[in-house]
Amino acid sequence: MTDAPALSVTNLSKRFGGALALDHVALEVRRGEVHGLLGSNGSGKSTLIKILAGFHDPEPGGEVRLYGRKVPLPVPGARVREMGLAFVHQHLGLIPSLTVMENLALGDLATTHNWGISWRAEEARAAEVFARYDLALDPRREVFTLSPVEQALLAIVRAVEDLRTASKEPGVLVLDEPTPFLPRAGVEQLFRLVRAAKDEGASVIFVSHDVDEVREITDRATILRDGKLIDTVVTADTSHDAFVERIIGRAMTAYGGAGKARPNAEPLAEVVELTGPGLGPVSLEVAEGEILGLTGLIGAGYDAVPALLYGARNATGGRLRLAGQSIRLDTMEPPEALARGIVYLPADRMGAAGVGSLPVSDNIGLPVLERLRRAAGLFDRDIRQHAGSLGARAGVKPNAPELPLSALSGGNAQKALLAKWLQVEPRLMLLDEPTQGVDVGARQDIWDALDGAAEGGAAILIGSTDYEQLAQLCHRVLVFARGRIVEELTGERLDKDAIAEACFRSTTLTAAAE
């Protein structure tokens, strides 16, 4: 039994509705190995991790073994740590208002009944642990005062320590996308810690989008695509291009994209030197009637652009030139943006875009209440009638404006919220993941509505990681990496695979540029 692999997964499947999100996947992680897990959105990567963490119940027939011992399925989330499996998710699971040592001891505090905690002993233990990993962390500091890197390091040390105390085995540590929001220097520190854990005999599963990081830190790597196991490779023998080919599923050759021809209009809006947290400086322009896509891997910064241009969040600098006027972006506020004909549809549908507990009619009517008023005042009847006619045009089903917004499906709610903004005939539309959680039919309706708005002369900016959507909808796509634009795709070069490739190649492009 001593030579059994640290983790072995065989024949693991998971079905959501009709679709196989994970299709008979196998994974073997050796003792003392750093093993990469790669794949794009929808590859099944996160489904696999969620099964291991006990969030999902896999289909019957699969098997998970830790150090030769069979793990019961579904994985018992609380007990699996004793068998030698621990997780650090992107949300690190730290409590910001507590101190470093309290967070370090959180696992014990939460599960054991200890009436006599000696904080002096805890502090000594914390100091000893940090010394062992060569980390300069003050056990008494509150976690929210730590940098993002220090927080990530703390979460990882805590997981490694929990494994050491809970399990007889050296343990397998799953790092689920730990790096996208860290600066380069922080990634180095994190890698040093991963190597230290490995030297102690632990195994590490490193989940990432970033091919360069996987090549740097892992010994072997497994690539998933469309829920299927594509390959497990020895990292040292695999080139960057070979990784990208396996992730996007096709050799990197010329493409025959069917990109729309870019309208030959003057630029309507010009963004100059936009900067924000983790972004920029970025300059871009979008023409009248043009649909411009912004994309990249997570942490690339593209997703902040729509919110910053609208003033939904504060930029640190930059200007927007719109119709001959130059507007400062660091002091931009939504009312000013609206007055200039800019609208913004956030991705958080029920948190930021619409209010679920209020009727569809009120949600749609909100920006034009003044227009709907008659001499005697505002009447529900008028708002409903107005919302009903817009809903019919947008294909909202059921088109019953008196219903609360939350009664509609995701796609229909989104159609209604898009109608809310289209009615003000915006000059510049900013959208954030406009078809997330939207069914296929509604997706087409939303694309049609956006096409219509563009033909009517609006300029549209879409932040999305849905490559297929970008390829179908956009005239032009800008690929971001580490807060900068690294590539522009248009015309023939604009298809789903090309965007995916540009994203996964993007980190190398920035490295070359610097």
Binding site: Y310, A312, P334, L358, L366, R373, F379, D380, P398, A400
Partner: protein, 355 residues
């Protein structure tokens, strides 16, 4: 060759016809689905007018024990007048509740304004008009201070208004030297309680007017709709161009000012002011605000609902008094009423989106 092509063309035509027919059917189905299987009108009706029905039921039950008192118009005329300031106080309270802030200082503001009218008019010989103006100005100031701490320092409204309320209680004791002050100008008493219209003191009609005004603002103005969005989805309102901070500050100032108006009415009702009795109206006002949100416009804090709720609760208390029940029952009634009202409004809110 031509034959076969004709045949395929024919076949395609046949299929296209069938597809068209199926699409027609689908559209018909969708049309039938369009007005969704909504809630039975009965439930809706019961929800809207349930409290009114309960009010009548309450009168009938209590009346069966004390018919001569419960079925006498004079009892109601007196009760409508003497509880008018609670209606006014509740109307003030529902404005910040709509925008998502709690104002626990309303009763203290009412006490402050009540006492300021008495002190300025009786002890300092101000004209009654001047005294009322200062009392209302004090209400505006309290609201502005609440707004400053809640919005500028970003402290939760419960904490801020709990503190300012307690602070104001101290101010009231200070300016009154902890004593009852009587002898307030009869002009005020006359226009509040002694003059009657349809047998009911004017105070009641002031409450009716304010209820109508607030109902209009909430129901028929863009401002009212925006206030509702600010309370239900602050981020949504902000991203839709609503100035959220201004709306919340305005709501807090309106609530304190209207509470000050309630204080003026309270002094006018008695011709005197004491430092503490107004403080007892905090809980009735909250109970009525939440109970009112379960009726007429269920799920929303609304003015006519608050109006009905105050008089529903007052009728219950009046009846219990007629029955000779000890006065602690008031506390049971208001306290229990608040918790039950909040539970009901919670049930309504949760059920709404599901149906």
């Amino acid at each position: 060759m031509t034959d076969t092509r004709d045949m395929t063309d024919n076949r395609i035509e046949v299929y296209e016809e069938r597809i068209a027919a199926l699409e027609e059917k689908l559209r018909a189905f969708e049309g039938r689905l369009a007005p969704p299987p909504s809630r039975r009108p009965g439930t809706e009706w019961a929800e809207r007018f349930g409290l009114l029905a309960a009010w009548i039921l309450l009168i009938l039950i209590l009346g069966s024990f004390r018919p001569d008192q419960m079925f006498s118009w004079n009892s109601y005329a007196a009760m409508f007048g003497s509880n008018a300031m609670i209606v006014v106080l509740t109307l003030g309270l529902i404005i910040p509740l709509t925008t998502g802030d709690f104002d626990l200082s309303v009763a203290s503001t009412m006490a402050l304004s009540s006492m300021m009218v008495a002190v300025l008019n009786v002890r300092m010989d101000w004209s009654i008009e001047g005294a009322i103006f200062m009392a209302l100005a004090a209400g505006v100031a309290v609201g502005a201070i609440n707004a400053l701490f809640i919005l500028w320092f970003r402290i939760h409204s419960l904490i801020v208004t709990l503190g300012t309320g307690y602070f104001i209680n101290g101010v009231v004791l200070w300016i009154s030297s902890s004593a009852v002050i009587s002898g307030v100008s009869m002009d005020l008493v006359r226009v509040v309680i002694m003059t009657r219209f349809l047998g009911i003191p004017l105070a009641f009609w002031y409450a009716v007017l304010l209820t109508a005004a607030l109902w209009y603002v909430f129901q028929h103005t863009a401002l009212g709709r925006r206030l509702l969005f600010v309370g239900r989805g602050r981020e949504v309102a902000r991203l839709s161009g609503v100035n959220v901070n201004r709306a919340r500050a305005g709501a807090l100032i309106a609530s304190s000012t209207i509470a000050a108006l309630a204080g003026v009415l309270y002094t006018g009702m008695r011709g005197s002011s004491d430092p503490s009795s107004a403080l007892a109206f905090l809980l009735p006002a909250f109970a009525a605000a939440f109970l009112g949100s379960t009726t007429l416009y269920p799920g929303r804090f609304n003015a006519p609902g608050a109006f009905v709720a105050v008089y529903f609760l007052s009728t219950g208390i009046m009846g219990l008094n007629f029955l000779g029940v000890p006065s602690f029952v008031q506390n049971l009634f208001y306290g229990g009423g608040l918790v039950i009202a909040v539970s009901i409004s919670q049930l309504i809110r949760k059920r709404r989106p599901m149906d």
